[in-house]
């Protein structure tokens, strides 16, 4: 199991951005009124933010990054690394991170690359950026976001009403004496098909059959398929042991942690995680009702919406935990008491 600590790196600030465009699950026409009611009750998702055509995950991250750099008065010459975590890049080739490096006016000495991860992506991204910063020094941008609405068929009534779009930016800094970040990262490729877009990659290139629409399932092989039961069972089985092992590693108890930010999967799942940890809802904030499941961005989106909880945590460390597509999951325990958390922005 990959448990490790990274010293001397702090998170200076976090910002997140969602599209202005709202859609309401009560208006979702491919479910009956009964299905709508049960879907909203079980997932907790009433509204979602959907990017208009032409707006990508990188656009949402770019807006978040520009706001963050301006707010923190960051000199872009100090940024030595940019990592873009997403499953909805601008192009198949090239990577999106280099495009963002140019748009943000970062130096050509800056490393920039993409990481293909979804719901675990923010935690993994922090581990990658913090690790590299211990060598590179200076500052780094972690940009994490997805426009998952573009991956699912709008007629797929089990997946389409779950997903929402968002981007985020986190500025990390090498700083001697910063509190360590503690990670516990895991993967299980045996479940690779729990969330998958079967056609369109090198394994199954797009062909005439890719767009054959399955009326029963509401999707084709070019759309993302979500096996809700597989993902649900995986999350119930793996997330809490991962968090508990992390706390064992750091020598902390549940009550020592200010609050927990879980990937926003669905209300049923997130309520269960809080209940089994023995914490109340204030300590495990949810943003599902108004912002849906924003995939890789759900942890930073929930962080920026949880400033109140952060103040209540009175300087205690917090735990972030992401889980999903891959299958991939991981948790980090860290100190955000000196981090600038900016309000959610819309474009």
């Amino acid at each position: 199991m990959a448990k490790f600590a990274i010293d001397h790196v702090s998170i200076e600030g976090v910002s997140a951005c969602v599209p202005q465009n709202k859609v309401f699950n009560r208006d979702y026409v491919y479910q009956s009124p009964k299905e709508q009611a049960q879907f909203i009750k079980t997932t907790g998702i009433e509204e979602r933010r959907i990017a208009l055509e032409g707006t990508t995950a990188s656009d949402l991250c770019l807006a978040a990054a520009r706001r963050l750099l301006a707010q923190l008065a960051c000199d872009t010459a100090e940024i030595n690394l940019l990592v873009f975590v997403s499953q909805t890049p601008d192009y198949k080739i090239p990577c999106t991170a280099t495009i963002l490096q140019d748009k943000l006016g970062l130096s050509k000495r800056c490393l920039a690359f993409d990481v293909n991860l979804g719901c675990s992506g923010y935690v993994y991204g922090l581990s990658i950026v913090a690790s590299l910063l211990t060598h590179l020094k200076g500052k780094a941008l972690l940009l994490v976001g997805d426009v998952s609405s573009t991956c699912v068929n709008p007629k797929d009534k089990t997946a389409a009403p779950l997903f929402s779009d968002a981007g985020s930016a986190s500025l990390l800094r090498y700083q001697k004496g910063s509190a360590p970040m503690y990670f516990n990262l895991q993967s299980d490729g045996a479940g690779y098909d729990a969330i998958i877009t079967p056609d369109g990659g090198a394994r199954n290139p797009i062909n005439d059959a890719s767009f054959t629409f399955d009326v029963t399932l509401g999707r084709s092989r070019a759309d993302m398929i979500l096996d809700g039961i597989k993902v649900f069972n995986f999350s119930r089985r793996e997330v809490l042991p991962n968090v508990r092992e992390l706390l064992e590693y750091t020598g902390m108890e549940i009550q020592d942690i200010g609050f927990f930010v879980f990937h926003q999967a669905n209300k049923l799942m997130n309520d269960m995680l809080a209940k089994k940890l023995g914490i109340d809802s204030e300590q495990a904030p949810q943003t599902l009702a108004k912002l849906g499941n924003t995939s890789s961005a759900s942890i930073p989106v929930t962080l920026v919406q949880s400033v109140h909880q952060m103040q209540l945590s009175m300087g205690k460390e917090i735990v972030l935990s992401g889980f999903g597509v891959g299958l991939s999951w991981g948790s980090v325990q860290l100190d955000l008491s000196k981090t600038n958390i900016l309000p959610l922005i819309e474009i």
Binding site: K34, F39, T42, T43, D227, G228, I229, F232, R236, L268
Partner: protein, 74 residues
């Protein structure tokens, strides 16, 4: 677990199931059965008994009897 206890467990996973449930009931034809109800059933059976229905179990089962046989074999 006897069949009648299993049916009770099945019914408890619903908010307010009005329909009659028998071993021969084709549960996916129930008015209140949805993909979300499948998750509620799995969570309830797991919390109560520790048994976890897989995606394939739910996909392949047609009747309550099918579900019960999978549960008993587990």
């Amino acid at each position: 677990m006897e069949m009648h206890d299993f049916i009770k467990l099945f019914k408890e996973s619903f908010d307010d199931l009005q329909e009659d449930v028998k071993p021969s009931t084709q549960f996916k034809q129930l008015d209140q059965w949805t993909s979300m109800q499948a998750l509620l059933l799995i969570a309830h059976v797991d919390d109560t008994t520790g048994f976890v229905f897989s995606s394939e179990n739910i996909r392949d089962a047609v009747t309550i009897e099918d579900l019960y046989q999978i549960f008993q074999a587990g």
